[in-house]
């Protein structure tokens, strides 16, 4: 029973990071209708950058700096992906983000080498809660994710910038006609997605070291989390991430670590299918 609870607790914490990555995908998809293949890159680059910067400065400063760098890179990638004129089709955008991902992996190899990168979590001790070990890093990860999810909800509902982002996703044509520059807001959306991915990466790297080729794994997890919410729901992506994180940790604990991603994804597929069916029948 203790082992089971331990897998659940670790899973929720891993899942929160997948949720952040998934929410980034949702933000970009809702605003530009593009699927961002590079969403995993943000987490990896942020984690790696922090691991190097932390040798020269305090952890918090290193993390903030890494997130700022990745957010900027994300905005630029957005501009390349949707094009200056903003008339790139979603399929072309997907291919462009795939290309950018490969370029990013090569750059990571050149700059950071091919080894895994990590750094110490914010605190090394762990709380013993009835035999279940809870690391402060888990609590931080979940707390930050919840705050960010609530903040995003407020942004989309209550601010004019958030409304403009929603408007672009509701009707690109009408948004342009109203005078909203959809390229600008696409870049803002990509920047926001990169920020979320970087945040997830910086918080997760101490628990799960990253290498140049970790981005695919993270992107797939993030995509599964986002798909759980139909690619359009911010809370849905968070919930999806947490379900996925728990499933993965249970598979590692009870079945075989080799099948971690495979079995977790099968479970997700089944859940998404069940949800879709359920929605159709109630509609």
């Amino acid at each position: 029973m203790t082992a089971f609870l331990q897998y659940i607790v670790t899973g929720i914490s891993d899942g929160a990071a997948y949720g952040l990555v998934g929410i980034g995908l949702v933000v970009v998809f809702r605003t530009t209708n593009a699927l961002n293949f590079a969403q995993g890159v943000y987490a990896v680059v942020a984690g790696m950058t922090t691991s190097v910067l932390v040798l020269h400065m305090p952890l918090v400063l290193a993390a903030v700096l890494a997130i700022a760098i990745v957010t900027t890179i994300g905005g630029l990638m957005g501009l390349i992906t949707i094009g200056i004129r903003g008339d790139t089709t979603p399929l072309t955008s997907l291919i462009v983000t795939l290309g950018l991902t490969l370029i990013a992996e090569s750059c990571e190899l050149l700059i950071f080498g091919d080894g895994p990168h990590s750094y110490a979590p914010i605190a090394n001790h762990a709380w013993d809660v009835g035999g279940v070990l809870v690391q402060p890093q888990y609590v931080l990860l979940l707390g930050v994710t919840l705050v960010v999810t609530l903040g995003l909800n407020l942004l989309f509902r209550k601010t004019i910038v958030g409304n403009a982002l929603v408007a672009a996703s509701d009707s690109l044509r009408a948004a342009r006609l109203v005078g909203i520059d959809t390229v600008t807001f696409g870049v803002v959306a990509f920047g926001l997605a990169a920020f979320l991915g970087a945040l997830g990466g910086v918080l997760l790297t101490p628990l799960m070291p990253v290498a140049y080729d970790s981005d695919l794994n993270i992107a797939v997890n993030g995509f599964a989390a986002a798909a759980f919410g139909g690619l359009v729901s911010v809370p849905g992506a968070l919930l999806g991430g947490i379900v996925l994180g728990m499933a993965e940790n249970l598979v590692v604990g009870y079945v075989n670590p080799q099948y971690e991603l495979t079995i977790a994804l099968v479970i997700m597929l089944a859940l998404i299918g069940w949800r879709a069916r359920h929605e159709v029948s109630t509609a």
Partner: protein
């Protein structure tokens, strides 16, 4: 001769190889109401898209107050005072009616660069709220709907949201693509009365694109007839209404009208 508010000259629009608009010229004076009628696929929406900057014309010019704005962005056209209400209304369904309206004002102050757009929006907030009250006075129904997601309102209400959203940009010219599409006749009648009042009392010029020729002739003193990408006829609505070609093609039951004469 005065400089017209909108002066379109020899406009050509192509999609790939297909010619949607083949050298169309039209003028609209300040404060005028003009209709553009024509069958499905005549190029009416292409014309509005080219004027509003959504589509880049292959040739020809668009002038506002005599200034060439042929390849201006949609945002620039809004800032020049040209607002468009797209076919099918295209409100933002997941936003409330009021959020829809406020985005109309945001679009007018927005530039490419988001930070200055936000600053300008904050600075002009007082004026924007006054304008919002003004729109609520013109269309009281919108005040009732303000908190409701626009996607959960009726077709006629959505058309009001779309008109209100355009008015929030304080336009001099309102270009409306298919006012009557999918709406009950009584709702269309109300909207037409409203638009006439808006035009006569506030001087907002109206370019109405319609398949319903009867409505277009009633609302607008002058009209153009567009067919297969070219202008076929133009003139005062009263004259066009008596034109036998227009009667058979657009007013329906040409035979009965002929017999009645």
């Amino acid at each position: 001769m005065s400089v017209p508010l909108l002066d379109v000259d020899g406009l050509v629009v192509k999609y790939g190889g297909a010619v949607a608009l083949d050298g169309v010229s039209l003028r609209l004076e300040t404060g005028e109401r003009v209709a553009l009628i024509g069958p499905n696929g005549a190029g009416k929406t292409s014309l509005l898209s080219a004027i509003s900057g959504l589509v880049r014309p292959a040739a020809g010019t668009v002038r506002i107050d005599g200034a060439d704005v042929t390849r201006a962005s949609p945002g620039r056209m809004v800032r020049l005072g040209v607002s468009m209400i797209p076919e099918g209304r295209q409100v933002f369904p997941s936003l409330t009616a009021e959020q829809n309206l406020l985005l109309g004002a945001f679009g007018r102050v927005a530039r490419r660069e988001p930070v200055t757009a936000l600053l300008r929006y904050a600075i002009e907030r007082g004026r924007i709220m006054e304008r919002l009250d003004g729109v609520y006075e013109l269309l009281p129904k919108l005040r009732e709907l303000r908190e409701r997601p626009a996607g959960r309102t009726s077709g006629g209400e959505q058309q009001m949201v779309a008109i209100g959203r355009a008015l929030m940009a304080d336009p001099r010219l309102l270009a409306i693509d298919e006012l009557s599409l999918g709406l009950a006749p009584i709702v269309v009648q109300d909207l037409a009365v409203f638009l006439r009042k808006l035009n006569e009392e506030r001087g907002v010029a109206i370019l109405l694109v319609e398949q319903n020729a009867q409505l277009a002739f009633e609302l607008c003193p002058r009209a153009y007839v567009l067919e297969a990408g070219q202008l076929r006829l133009e003139g005062p609505s009263a004259e066009l209404q008596r034109n036998p070609l227009v009667q058979t093609a657009y007013l329906g039951g040409g035979l009965e009208v002929a017999e009645a004469r």
